[in-house]
Subunit: 519 residues, 2 copies
Amino acid sequence: MENVDSVTARVDMTKYRPYAAKVKRFDIESGSFIAVLNEREARENGIFTGDRVVISTRGNKKIVIVDLSEEVVERGEIGLFAETSSELKLQDGDLVEIRQVGVPSSISIIHRKMDGIAMSNEEVDTVISEMMQNRLSDVELASWVAGMYIRGLDTEETVALTKAIVKSGDTLDLGKKPVVDKHCAGGVAGNRTTMVLVPIIAAAGLYIPKTSSRAISSASGTADTMEVLAPVEFSIEEMRRIVLKTHGCMVWGGAINLAAADDKLIRIRHTLSLDPRGVLLASILAKKVSVGAQYVVIDIPAGMGTKFEDMASARSLARDFLTIGSRLKLDIECLITDGTDPVGQRIGSALECQDVLNVLQNQAPRDLLDKSCQLAGALLEKCGTVRKGRGYAAALDLIKNGKAYAKMKEIIAEQGGNPNVKISDIPVGKYTHVVEAEASGRVRLVDNRNVSRIARAAGAPHDKGAGLILHCEQGDKVNEGDLLFEVVAESEAKLDIAVKMIEDMNPIKLQNIVLGKMD
Amino acid sequence: MENVDSVTARVDMTKYRPYAAKVKRFDIESGSFIAVLNEREARENGIFTGDRVVISTRGNKKIVIVDLSEEVVERGEIGLFAETSSELKLQDGDLVEIRQVGVPSSISIIHRKMDGIAMSNEEVDTVISEMMQNRLSDVELASWVAGMYIRGLDTEETVALTKAIVKSGDTLDLGKKPVVDKHCAGGVAGNRTTMVLVPIIAAAGLYIPKTSSRAISSASGTADTMEVLAPVEFSIEEMRRIVLKTHGCMVWGGAINLAAADDKLIRIRHTLSLDPRGVLLASILAKKVSVGAQYVVIDIPAGMGTKFEDMASARSLARDFLTIGSRLKLDIECLITDGTDPVGQRIGSALECQDVLNVLQNQAPRDLLDKSCQLAGALLEKCGTVRKGRGYAAALDLIKNGKAYAKMKEIIAEQGGNPNVKISDIPVGKYTHVVEAEASGRVRLVDNRNVSRIARAAGAPHDKGAGLILHCEQGDKVNEGDLLFEVVAESEAKLDIAVKMIEDMNPIKLQNIVLGKMD
C-alpha cells in the first residue's frame, strides 16, 4: 500500500504536463472557484482533489481548486461553475489549458503553525493573501484556524494578522481628526447603545464612521435596527461623503469591503464556533484600523449568561485589547459592563428604534441612556474634548440640550431616511401576547438568550415589527398577575410559535421563596 | 457587532420552525450531500452555511449540509445536487420539508479534542459514525484531523479509532485459519514484494486475502501491476470465494468496502499531507482487522530519501505498531528494511510484472527475491508453519520447487487472467531512451522519488507499458558510456517529456572522485 504522498513530489512532476480541455459550464454558483476534472484523466496528470490548477485562455488566467468526477465530466472536458466561467468569459466548448500550480506557500506555514512554530509577519501575510486569491481550500483554512486555536497567537502574530486583514480590504481615509470607533463584545439583547452614542459623538464634533452587523443569532443587529429609520447599504465613497458632512454614520459593514479577509475567516470559525483569541482580536481591531480610528471604546458585557461569566476572563480580554491596540497605535478604553440583563425595554428592530428615539429625547429606558453616555463619555475624555471625569456629564448634556437628537435627524436624512419620523410612525406588529406573573416575587433574571429566541420565533429579525417588550427588569418586585412582558408579531402564526416557546423558555425567572413543600 | 454565536442557541431556536420549499435540481454530482437554500430565507429560519437540515418527503429523510445563495435559489426553493435528488427520488417542483437538525455530537467532541482532552471509545465511535452519515463538513473533519495531529492520540484512542474504522465498513470472515496479511509503510520504487509473497504464503497453506492500492504518486501500485496479469476489481463475496479456493488473492482495495471510513479520512489528510501517527496506525491496522488477519508482517523502509531517514524514527513506528497490534489481538512483526534504493530492476506496471514472474521462476532480480522471502519467512515462522530461523529458507524452497509459481498461476486464473502468460507476452512500450554514464565512477544513489517521477512522465501508471529499467544499483562501479537505465514509453511524445526531465532529475547519482578542478 502506498502512503499519503508528499505534496512536493506531486508538484515537481506535473510542472511539465499542461493539458487542454473543453469547457462544460454549470450555471450554478458554487461559492468559490472550483473546476471539476475527469477523475482518471486528472490522475494521469498527477492532479488530485483539492489541488490547484491554473486555467489559461486568451491571456486570462485563474487559479481554481480541483474537484474530481468520473461521471459529470468526460475526458477532455473541464466543468466550470458560474463564478469561474463568467470571470474568464468562457462558453461551452471553449478550449482552455490546465496546468497544475505550485502548492500554495501557506501549506507549509499552516503545517509549521500546527507544529507550534510562531508565524512571521511575512508568513501571516502569505496565508491571508493566498486565502484572498481563493487558493486555500476549506480543509486548509480549517487546519489553520485549528492550529491558531490550539497553539495560540502571540502578540507579534496577532498584530501581523490584524495588519494583513486590514490590507486585504478597502480602507477609509477621512483626512480629518479625531476619528473614533466603538465595539461591543456582544451577547446582550437590546443594547442599541451605538445608535445613541454615534449622534452624541458626532454632535460633539468628533468623527465616527460606524459600521455594524446584522443579526446572527440575536433578534436584531444594529444594522437591522437602523434600517427601520434609513437605508444602511452604502459604498465606501458614499460612507465617506456622509461622515464628512454629518461627522457620523450607521451603515451595514457587509456592504463595504473593509477587512475583507475577516468574512472568510468568520465562515470557518462559525462552523465550529471556534474563537481563537488572537483571531478574535485581529478581526475586531482590523475593522477599527480600516476606518482610520485613533480612539476606540470597547464594551465587554460580563456576568451570568454572557461570554464572560467572571470578571477575570473579561479583564483578560480587555488587557489583550489594550496590548494589541497600543501596537496598532489605537488608543483603546475597555468598559466591562453588566451584561446579565437586556439593555433597553424593547427587543426587535422597530421596537428598539422606539427605545433609541425615546432616549435621544431624554426619555426612558434609563439603562440604555446611561450606558450610552458612559461609552460616549469615555471617548470624549480620550479625545480631550472634555477633561477627565467630565465625559458622562458632557454626553448627557448633548442629549438634554437636544443636539444629539438633531444630529440623529441629520444622519437619518443623509442616509436617505425621513428625519422627522415620530415614534408613533414606526410600524410594529399588531399581534401581541401578554405574559403575566403567575406568582408574586422578585425578578431574579431576564435571560438574554431566551429573549432573543422568542423574538426570533416571533419573526425577528426579518419581520422588523416583531419582538418583545419587557415590563420589568432584574430586581423588580412583581405581584401575581403583574405584566412581565409582551410578545409582538406581524402574523398570528408566528405569534403562536413564539407563545409555544415561552413554556420552555420563559426569559423572566422569579425568585422562589418557597423552594419546596411537603405535607 | 455580534459575535460568532453559540451553536446551541441556533439549534434550540429552530427546532420549532420547519419550512417547506420546492425542489430545484442541479444535475451535477457535488461529491457530498449538499442543499442550497435561499440565503435570506435560511437566515430567517436561523439556518447558516454549514448547518445540517433534514429534508423530508413522503416518509423519506436525508440529512444534508447547507450552502446558501441569494441568486441560484429563490425564496421557497431548495437546490439539490444529483446525489440527494436521486436518493430521495425528487423531481423539480416537488415539495419537501426542511428542518434544522441538532448539531452533530461530534462538534463538541472535536472541540474537546482540540482542547487537549482525550476521546473516549464512544466519542470516537460517534465522530466516525457521523462522518459516515455525511453529517460532518470538511471544516469539521479538518479540525478533527488537525486536533489529532497536534494533540496526538494515546493508545486507547488509537485502538478505539481502529475499531470504529473497522465497524464503518464490511469485514471478511473466511471461517479458516490462519489468516495473515502484509503491509509496506511505503515509498520505495518497484518493491513488488506482495506479488511474490502472496503466492509463497498461499502455497504454504496459509490464507492471505490481500488488498492493495493503486498508485498515488508512484509509478505503479500493487493493484496496477497485478492488473496486467488479471482483473483486480472484485466484490467482497468474490474475494472470499477466490481466497477459499486458492488461499490467496491480490485485489484492489478501492473496489471493496473494507474500513470505509479510512477513505474519507485519507482525503482530508492528503490535502494537507497530515499524517497524525495514531490515524496512520488506525488506518493501516483497520484494514488488517477487517480481513480477519491474525498475523501481520510490516515492512518499514528506512534510510535516506524514505519517510524514516533514521533508525530511531523507524523503530518508534514499529513499537507503535506492536503496541496497538497487541491490543487488537494482531500478532505483528515489523521488519525495518533498507529503502534507499529501488527494489527490483523494473519500474512501471508491465515491467514490474516481468520482475515478479522472473523471481517466481527463481531468477533475478535478487533483491526482490530476497526481500520477499524475508517477509514471507517472518509470516511462516509466526504461524508456526516452520520453526524459528527457518522462515527464509522455507520461503525460498517454495520458489525453488516451483510451488509458489504454480500458486501464482492458480490465483491469476481464479481472478480471471491467463495463467500461462509468458514474460515475453507482456506488452511494454516500444519507445525507449537509453541513459549512459557520462563519466566513470561508483553509483552513490538511485533516487526513488526521481525514478517515480520519470516513470510517470513516461506515462505510468496509466500506460501500463511505460516505466524505467535500471541497469545498475547502489555501489556498482560503472565506466563512462556504460548503460545506467532505460526509459520506456508507449508514445514518442511521452518519452520526450520524460527524457526532458532527466536533466533535472537524473535518478542515478555517481560518486565524484574529483569534486573540483582549478588551473
